[in-house]
């Protein structure tokens, strides 16, 4: 039982775990994008930079004040969420009545601007972030660091919790209704503009949260979000624009598919997600979970 389909079992398990790790970030990130797109109809191209800011804030807190990872997991999303709140309040809000492309361009521009400022202040080199959990699980076939298991578990809990919150709670019902007909929801006495602002801030905080979780795994660098966000947009397209559950399932699923491709056809690993995206667009343009319009 050391091989499966002629592949060493250790390599297979290892890549599935790596796939789940990457999938955790795909899921958390595309979840935030789905929430923002579903409710605000904004394609948030600043999401990668907001993720990077989460990691950067965590690193800065540790480097400057010695604030631990665990506090950063709470503080960094809060800080990044507040930045998102200000972005919505002072910029995005004024673009809702225009064509969607204006808000998209704004987020592209803000992303470039923030990334540039970070490079200017901290340099383009990456900063290492120490692993907060040493050791790991020694399954006879592979060794899995505790921290990686922690990331997968937290991503699952947070993404499913967010989904349940939107599907099962009263506030979630307001969000779903405001997605369909914001003006009518306002006539019920609900402050929809404030709700949109808080929703954007929450989704941005989610990106910041992902960034903190990513810091010990990847290096903290100004362009760490740039490479991730391209893949995440492909995930969102495959899952169906605006579908919360779709982004969670597709995020983890594509992470694993990518990991398995590394085992069976390593040359294709970096493009497999885009191949799936092209196939999906050809067969089912509204995505796996998309309702289609």
């Amino acid at each position: 039982m050391d091989t499966l389909f002629g592949i060493p079992l250790a390599a297979l398990v290892g890549q599935v775990v790596i796939g789940l790790i990457n999938g955790s970030f795909y899921a958390l990130m595309s979840l935030g994008l789905a929430i923002i797109f579903g409710l605000l109809h904004v394609v948030n191209f600043a999401h990668g930079v907001q993720y990077m800011l989460g990691a950067l804030v965590a690193w800065y807190l540790l480097d400057t004040w010695g604030i631990s990872y665990w506090w950063a997991l709470l503080l960094a999303p809060l800080i990044v969420g507040l930045i998102g709140l200000a972005m919505e309040r002072f910029f995005l809000r004024h673009l809702y009545h225009l064509d969607h492309v204006y808000a998209l361009l704004l987020t592209v521009g803000m992303g470039i601007l923030i990334e540039g400022l970070v490079k200017f202040k901290f340099g383009i080199g990456g900063q290492p972030y120490p692993n907060p959990m040493s050791g790991g699980a020694d399954l006879s076939v592979a060794f899995i660091p505790w921290y990686r298991l922690w990331v997968i578990a937290v991503a699952l809990v947070v993404s499913l919790g967010t989904w349940l919150f939107i599907e099962r709670t009263k506030i979630g019902a307001y969000l779903r209704a405001a997605n369909e007909n914001p003006n009518l929801v306002r006539t019920f006495g609900i402050n929809v503009p404030r709700m949109l602002m808080l929703t954007y801030a929450f989704a941005v905080a989610l990106a910041g949260f992902s960034g903190v979780m990513a810091a010990p795994i990847y290096q903290v660098s100004p362009h760490m979000g740039g490479s991730l966000i391209i893949v995440v947009f492909a995930v969102v397209v495959i899952g169906g624009m605006g579908s919360i559950l779709g982004s969670i399932v597709t995020g983890f699923g594509l992470g694993v598919i990518e990991g398995l491709t590394k085992v069976f056809y390593p040359e294709g690993a970096s493009v497999v997600i885009f191949v799936v995206m092209i196939l999906m667009l050809a067969v089912r343009p509204s995505g796996l979970f998309g309702r289609g319009q």
Partner: protein, 238 residues
């Protein structure tokens, strides 16, 4: 009815309303007293729906005065006007597809005391109780209309703006909605409605305003209808 001591439920004076650059309302003046059922009549495109939307704060630009119980709604967003006790049931009904019938019913928060309880609403609309688990938009047209009205009865709003509550419904359902609106008056609600079905409205409303090209051109009481029926029907293009 004197209006010297208590302010009217709704007073609209010299209202002008705009969709972008286009002026849709030119001169709307109307008063609704507490407990009245008042109906806006007029041809398609005359500005009846726009008037309701302006009162609810849904027009991008409005000028003139709108007062709810003596309080000006100048510059207020819809959510603030709702908190004065105004509720709106749109012509297209606005049932949410992503919510079940009961979630639709329970969606609007209770803003002030005096609304109906869920129990009372289900007594008034037994169909909605049977269909409560269904997806909101899977209900029949009549059930969706009932749901759209039922939904704004819990909130404590006293002034209900109903836009074409009978449009496209079978006569037996129209009759049922008439009974519901009469019940609401007995329960102390005030109703300002838009209605194309003059036969239906003439038996229900206390007073009428006729709107043409964005202006109020006439008003009359229910008692005035019988002696002036020919003139009124000509005015409405019936």
């Amino acid at each position: 009815m004197t209006e010297s001591h208590t302010p009217p439920m709704l007073r609209v004076s010299q209202l002008r309303g705009f969709y972008g650059e286009t002026q849709a309302l030119h001169q709307i003046d109307l008063v609704v007293q507490p407990g009245e059922i008042v109906c806006l009549l007029g041809r398609n495109g005359a500005g009846k729906t726009t008037t309701l939307r302006a009162i609810m704060g849904l027009l991008s630009r409005r000028e003139g005065q709108i007062e709810v119980l003596g309080q000006s709604t100048q510059g207020m967003p819809p959510e603030a006007i709702a908190r004065l006790g105004v509720a709106y049931c749109p012509e297209e009904r606005g049932i949410f597809a992503s919510l079940s019938a009961e979630e639709n019913l329970l969606l609007p928060p209770v803003l002030m005391p005096g609304g109906l309880s869920v129990q009372e609403i289900y007594t008034l609309f037994p169909n909605l109780y049977e269909r409560r688990r269904s997806q909101g938009t899977k209900l029949s047209g009549g059930e969706q209309q009932m749901l759209a009205i039922a939904r704004i009865l819990r909130t404590g709003a006293k002034l209900l703006l109903l836009d074409e509550p009978t449009e496209g419904l079978a006569p037996v359902i129209v009759e049922r909605i008439g009974q519901v609106i009469r019940t609401l008056r007995e329960r102390g609600f005030t109703v300002l409605m838009v209605e194309q079905n003059f036969r239906f409205a003439s038996r229900l409303a206390d007073r009428f305003y006729v709107i043409e090209e964005g202006s109020v051109i006439d008003s009359f009481h229910q008692d005035d209808i019988a002696p002036n029926r020919a003139r009124i029907e000509r005015m409405l293009g019936l």
